[in-house]
């Protein structure tokens, strides 16, 4: 498998590929957002329509899954940024993979379990926060023993499985996409000279298109499930 450039700083390991990719995509998301909302008017212009559509879309996800109006207000921004960020990170590896020597420098950050676990953890912490804000610390813990007390351990395990499924689903989908794309590009294309290269091109194209689709769907699924988990914490069953 590809290695990436890992360095140690303040006793922590840092993976350069993930840092570069995420920072790059954060900048892209930021500039696209600023560009789209440069002129905000009551009578919307075309660019404003685009960002308003996106906002409506993520707001719809929040509205469908969170019934608490207080949490909704904060989650609207979270869902909007999270969706765009994950979507962009999913797509990054499809058109840009930079390899210097043996080390990957640019690839999809979401093709790495650490990244997806980071975002899943963010969601999880957010859901804890909202739950405790809503019911208080004691009320929050009591909710684990609902509807009957012996379900407490199962509810605790569910918390861990939620975290794992949320992160690993995204990771698996994007990682598999990248692996297959790398296989087509690196192994299949040069295997029999020019013939396979010509044949591999449309195949790579089809897979890229499919990966764009998967990347969008996974971003949507990630945000939706995040909202489901948060929504579950702020509603009394």
């Amino acid at each position: 498998m590809e290695k990436s450039f890992v360095f140690k700083f303040l006793g922590l390991n840092f993976d350069l590929a993930g840092m570069i990719g995420s920072t790059l995509m954060a900048a892209v998301v930021l500039f696209v957002c600023i560009w789209l909302s440069r002129k905000v008017e009551l009578r919307p212009n075309k660019k404003q329509n685009v960002i308003e559509y996106l906002l409506d879309f993520t707001d719809g996800i929040v509205k469908d899954n969170v019934s608490d109006p207080d949490a909704r207000k904060h989650l609207s921004l979270y869902a909007f940024v999270l969706f765009l960020f994950i979507f962009c990170m999913n797509q990054l590896g499809l058109f840009l993979e930079v390899k210097v020597g043996d080390n990957m420098f640019v690839k999809s950050p979401t093709a790495d379990p650490v990244t997806t676990m980071s975002f899943a953890m963010m969601t999880l912490l957010l859901s804890f926060t909202f739950g405790m804000q809503k019911f208080g610390v004691g009320g929050y813990w009591r909710n684990y023993a609902e509807p009957v007390s012996f379900l407490f351990p199962i509810n605790m395990i569910e918390e861990i499985t939620n975290f794992l499924t949320l992160s690993l689903r995204l990771y698996g989908n994007i990682y598999a996409g990248e692996v297959l794309l790398t296989l087509i590009g690196n192994s299949l294309a040069p295997s029999f000279g020019i013939t396979t290269m010509v044949l591999a091109a449309p195949l790579a194209m089809v897979w890229q298109g499919f990966s764009v689709f998967i990347g969008s769907i996974q971003a949507y699924v990630f945000v939706t499930l995040s909202m489901v988990y948060v929504g579950k914490k702020v509603t009394k069953e």
Partner: protein, 170 residues
């Protein structure tokens, strides 16, 4: 600061540092997007929502007002039509009354004129008769004088004159 090339996660290293990096990047992204894009856009959407609501409200209000106005106008129209017919019928009645009055007056006038003319004519006739009678008497006296003049004596004549004078005095 020590850089050290290590193997990726698959080879046993878990880079917790990345998690912190992602958190920081995401937090910064959240703040910036909120400030530059999400904030203004959602604010504008809310403003538009409020505007649509107020526009709808005012449209409903206006429609209600227009309905009331239309009803009022219709009522006024009906009223004025009624008034017009009332005025017309009043005028007709008045005219009839006036005309009959005029006719009656004219009749009265004609009758009185007729009466007066009759009286005048009778008076004139009587006057003419009286005059004629007087003249006839004068003429007959004169004729009689002329006829009798030769035969009368002076005494007789004196008697006659006396008688005449007496007649005058009466």
């Amino acid at each position: 600061m020590t850089f050290q090339t290590l193997f990726a996660a698959s080879s046993g290293h878990i880079y917790i540092g990345n998690t912190i990096w992602y958190l920081i990047v995401f937090a910064i992204l959240l703040v910036l997007v909120k400030h530059y894009a999400w904030g203004p856009v959602s604010e504008m959407m809310e403003k538009r929502r409020q505007k649509v609501i107020s526009d709808l409200d005012s449209a409903a209000d206006n429609r209600k007002k227009a309905e009331v106005l239309a009803n009022e106008r219709e009522a006024a129209l009906k009223n004025s039509r009624q008034e017009a017919t009332q005025i017309l019928s009043d005028a007709k009645a008045n005219a009839q009354k006036t005309s009959s009055q005029i006719v009656a007056e004219a009749n009265d006038d004609a009758a009185s004129i007729h009466e007066k003319a009759k009286a005048d004519a009778a008076q004139a006739k009587a006057d003419a008769l009286d005059e004629a009678r007087a003249q006839v008497a004068d003429i007959s006296v004169t004729i009689a004088e002329k006829v009798i003049a030769k035969n009368l004596s002076a005494d007789d004549q004196k008697d006659l004159v006396d008688q005449f004078i007496k007649g005058l005095n009466k």
